[in-house]
Symmetry: C2
Subunit: 211 residues, 2 copies
DNA sequence: TGTACATCAGTGAACGCGCGTTCACTGATGTAC
DNA sequence: TGTACATCAGTGAACGCGCGTTCACTGATGTAC
């Protein structure tokens, strides 16, 4: 048993990571369809992937770890997509607009992950809530900086970038959730809402907003 | 068996309604503690009330009906409390302030029912989603009217009461959820947020807001 | 006032189900010699 | 090139659990006569 010590760590043979990502994708699908983390069961995931449930244990210690990966991926994607949108512009108002638009787009396109990302409901252990919180705080700093850049450029009347960024964020959050949740509500045009919950709350001056 | 036809309907003997309301209260407690409608099981409710699970069937056709009653009660309470707050004032700005403050207070004091009330996640059948929607729409009309009253009194610069009321609502919604969910976030003072997401979005003029 | 009986709230056992997780296993894959 | 064998991905059966719901029941309560 302990004879050969050379040749350590075989390194997965092609599968391994593939199955792992199939598991995560299936879990994400189920979550997107049901909107309920409780329905992301190991057996349901395994059925969708076409494997037996115990196979999942080769890649994740338990059910919670699967869900955590899905949510962590969603955070990473949101962060990436917002950063990409912002960095396409140099004008501070355009950067703010693009970042917020990307945020709202993500929330509309992935309503269920979005909803669960910012929900305290305890499928997550304390340590992971904290790490998700750090990710979120980092993203929020970007928003504060974007508002501050508008102030510095004389394009916003804001006198408190942090508080105004917080207002923009909560408004975007509420709009995202309600827009995807209450489809029957006679929502004003998207641009009208955007003008109010982003530009007005950020104190962007009218002539600046008009570009 | 079919001899006596006189003396119909005995009318519960004291209990009956009492047990029913104990069931609803227990379900509401469980929901408030867990934040997860799935954990409001008939067995858990029965354990808390101190009865056997099948006893619940004397008062509700199934599990879903219990949850529905809890949520319906929460809607009724929100509506009542907001209306009561508004009707304590005659000044339109004060009415708007009081109504919104009451809304935010409700959401902070009953975070879990609040969260589930406005969530599309399907524990509810279509017809009940619709009736909840009607309740919510009615409450929203009150907000629109409050904003319009400010406009009519020359206290708001708003030119679209409906769109501005929608903006106020989504912002209050997002603030409510995030404030109770992210307790570690360094939130600005409550008044600072209130000023932004209610008064500024409703277009209430500075001198009017200052009273 | 007394008694037979209808009514009613509530019980306890049982059903079938889907779940997370464990465990001993199987068969294909690649490597050492 | 051939063969023994370690490794590894994945399986199938089984466990104990909590669940919603059904069903036949029990015993207290109140009413008709």
């Amino acid at each position: 048993v302990n004879s050969r010590v050379v040749s350590r760590s075989r390194n997965a043979r092609g599968e391994g990571t593939r199955l792992r990502s199939e598991i995560v994708a299936a879990a994400a699908q189920i979550l997107a369809e049901s909107g309920n983390p409780d329905s992301v069961t190991l057996r349901a995931v395994a059925r969708r992937v076409g494997i037996s449930a115990p196979s999942i244990y080769a890649h994740f210690p338990d059910r919670e770890a699967v869900l955590l990966t899905v949510i962590g991926d969603a955070f990473a994607e949101l962060s990436t997509t917002v950063n990409a949108a912002i960095s396409q512009h140099r004008d501070p108002v355009l950067r703010l607009r693009a970042g917020c638009a990307a945020y709202l787009r993500f929330a509309q396109q992935r309503p269920q992950p979005y909803r669960i990302m910012f929900q305290q409901s305890h499928p997550l252990p304390e340590s992971d809530v904290d790490s998700a919180f750090d990710l979120g705080a980092e993203a929020f700093d970007i928003l504060v900086a974007a508002v501050q850049a508008c102030i510095d450029a004389g394009r916003s009347t804001s006198v408190d970038a942090f508080a105004d960024a917080a207002a923009v964020w909560v408004a975007m959050h509420g709009y995202s959730l309600l827009l995807s949740g209450l489809k029957k509500f006679p929502w004003p045009a998207d641009e009208a809402m955007f003008e109010r919950i982003v530009l007005r709350l950020a104190g962007v001056t009218a002539e600046s907003a008009a570009l």
